[in-house]
């Protein structure tokens, strides 16, 4: 295992220390491993709390700041944070207008946030669970779809709405609407290596790739022969388009890198995806290309489409000032 780390057991602690040093505009609660915006709590504003396992950077800590999250809880690598962290975050961002928990749909995240919401008494908490991964069949009897790429777009859009002073119920409904309108699909060229495990999570021969992966280094739905970018784009875009009609509104198109795929390749993929969307009659209004919701050192990418009406687009365009996304300020 080749990584820029000291001891796997201290990775998250030490990365947070570096993040605090690099971003004096943020406040890092090292004991609870919570990244706060520097001016939290903002009076009268709905507080946005997100979080999850580490290893997905810049998500979530890199999305803390004006126009996006108020706080992010960092768990161990690929492991949901614990309720204590979420309670500390919730208390630290409550400016009197209530708090929205943004939770990706993983059993661990859902259960820990659930416990935190029960424990954060006195504070009005709403929860949105993001589940946008079309690789997973949705069903009443299973854990349901994973939360992946849409989370990034949702945190930006809902962050802008909270910044405008919209009330909790409206912000929570908006978040659910964004989740309803977003779909993602991902693939991996290589496995990542979880530092504590010390070796790749799965073996993937030079001639094969995984389609339908999540963001925790888990194997995908199926393993197929390595293919050119053009065919990979089809394998990602087709299931997204057949799951939801994206021709009714303009879309935000997000091509995400899993961590070790260089930007050069991501732009190439974006070109392939854009060409497919054009052919399918989907109009792209905004785009985002880069490693924003990653899986440590996994090579690969995911495609997220979000159906975006005028409200969503203007919230997307609104100012945001975080380490990971910054514009309009």
């Amino acid at each position: 295992m080749k990584k820029l780390i000291n001891d796997p057991a201290n990775l998250v602690t030490e990365a947070l220390r570096g993040m605090a040093a690099a971003h004096p505009e943020l406040r890092v609660d090292h004991e609870n491993r919570v990244v706060f915006r520097g001016d939290a709590p903002v009076r009268g504003k709905v507080g946005l709390v997100s979080g999850g396992g580490s290893g997905h950077e810049p998500m979530h800590g890199g999305f803390v700041g004006p126009g996006m999250l108020d706080a992010a809880c960092a768990g161990e690598v690929f492991t949901s944070p614990v309720p204590d962290q979420m309670v500390a975050a919730t208390q630290g961002v409550d400016g009197g207008a209530g708090v929205l928990h943004i939770v990706k749909n993983y059993t661990g995240d859902v259960m820990n946030f659930e416990m935190a919401a029960e424990l954060a008494d006195g504070i009005e908490v709403e929860t949105v669970v993001v589940d946008d991964d079309v690789a997973v069949q949705d069903s009443l009897y299973t854990a349901g779809r994973r939360g992946v790429g849409t989370t990034v777009l949702l945190e930006k859009i809902v962050g802008a709405a909270a910044e405008q002073g919209r009330p909790l119920a409206e912000v929570a409904n908006l978040a659910r609407k964004v989740d309803d309108c977003g779909r993602s699909m991902g693939m991996a060229l290589t496995s990542c290596t979880v530092p504590a495990a010390g070796k790749p999570t799965f073996d993937l021969p030079e001639t094969e790739m995984e389609i339908g992966i999540g963001i925790h280094g888990e194997p995908g739905r199926r393993r197929v022969p390595l293919a050119p970018a053009r065919e990979i784009a089809e394998m990602l875009v087709e299931p997204v388009l057949s799951d939801l009609d994206f021709t009714t509104d303009p879309v935000i198109c997000f091509v995400n890198g899993m961590g070790a795929s260089p930007l050069l390749e991501l732009y190439l993929m974006y070109g392939e995806v854009a060409a497919l969307l054009e052919k399918a009659g989907v109009r792209v209004a905004r785009s985002l290309v880069g490693p924003y919701i990653t899986s440590l050192d996994m090579a690969g990418c995911s495609v997220t489409l979000l159906r975006a009406d005028d409200d969503l687009l203007s919230l997307w365009d609104a100012p945001v000032d975080t380490p990971g996304l910054r514009w309009g300020v």
């Binding site: 944070p81 299973t142 994973r146 280094g217 199926r222």
Partner: protein, 208 residues
């Protein structure tokens, strides 16, 4: 009757067992999950051992609540709330007692399992820790009803847990991360069922 000390010995034995099986749990979780179950449980149980070292417990309830709270606060992931709730409910069931008779042990464990069900809503055959715990507690009840002493009943429970753990291998996962693999989850033993079998095995080894 099992005294507080007996339960402390169990918890410590479980921690030691997790520690020595950490690599195996992580390997199982690598195949159908995210390669952290070993680290999660080891981190949590190390914190539990530290908590046991730092305090004395008057009642069985206080002991298990501390264990549960510590797991909830240090593990995270799916196993944190699940094992945390398991121990919290055992603690609640045991209450102020300073020792438990075999039936109370079985009842407390049953309450723990109900906590797991309330938290994670697993059903039989979902390929989770439930599939080791549930047959184990059924076997425990049955053995106690048949008049076996606790240690023997726990051995039966441990055997049932091991069988339940083994039975997860051919299952198609419907809960937890492994469910994302669909058909590909078939043929792999569930990591949580594996750690759960260790829990029952160490109970059989330690509880008088």
């Amino acid at each position: 009757m099992t005294e507080v000390d007996g339960f402390v010995a169990w918890v410590r034995a479980f921690a030691a067992s997790i520690e020595s099986h950490q690599g195996e749990l992580t390997d199982l979780d690598s195949a159908i999950g995210d390669a952290d179950h070993g680290a999660n449980m080891a981190r949590g149980m190390a914190a539990v051992v530290a908590a046991l070292d730092a305090a004395e417990f008057e009642t069985v309830g206080a002991l298990f609540k501390k264990v549960g709270m510590t797991l909830v606060s240090t593990v995270g992931g799916a196993s944190g709330p699940l094992y945390g709730t398991l121990f919290l409910r055992i603690g609640t069931a045991a209450g102020e007692a300073t020792s438990l008779d075999p039936d109370s042990v079985a009842k407390a464990l049953r309450a723990g399992l109900e906590g797991v069900v309330a938290r994670g809503r697993p059903e039989a055959g979902d390929k989770t820790m439930f599939d080791a715990l549930s047959p184990a507690l059924d076997a425990l009840d049955q053995a106690l009803t048949d008049g076996s002493p606790l240690s023997e009943a726990l051995r039966a429970a441990s055997q049932a847990a091991d069988e339940g753990r083994d039975a997860t291998t051919p299952m198609l996962a419907r809960k937890g991360r492994a469910s994302y693999l669909g058909e590909r989850s078939v043929g792999h033993q569930d990591p949580g069922a594996t750690s759960a079998a260790l829990l029952i095995a160490t109970a059989a080894e330690t509880l008088p």
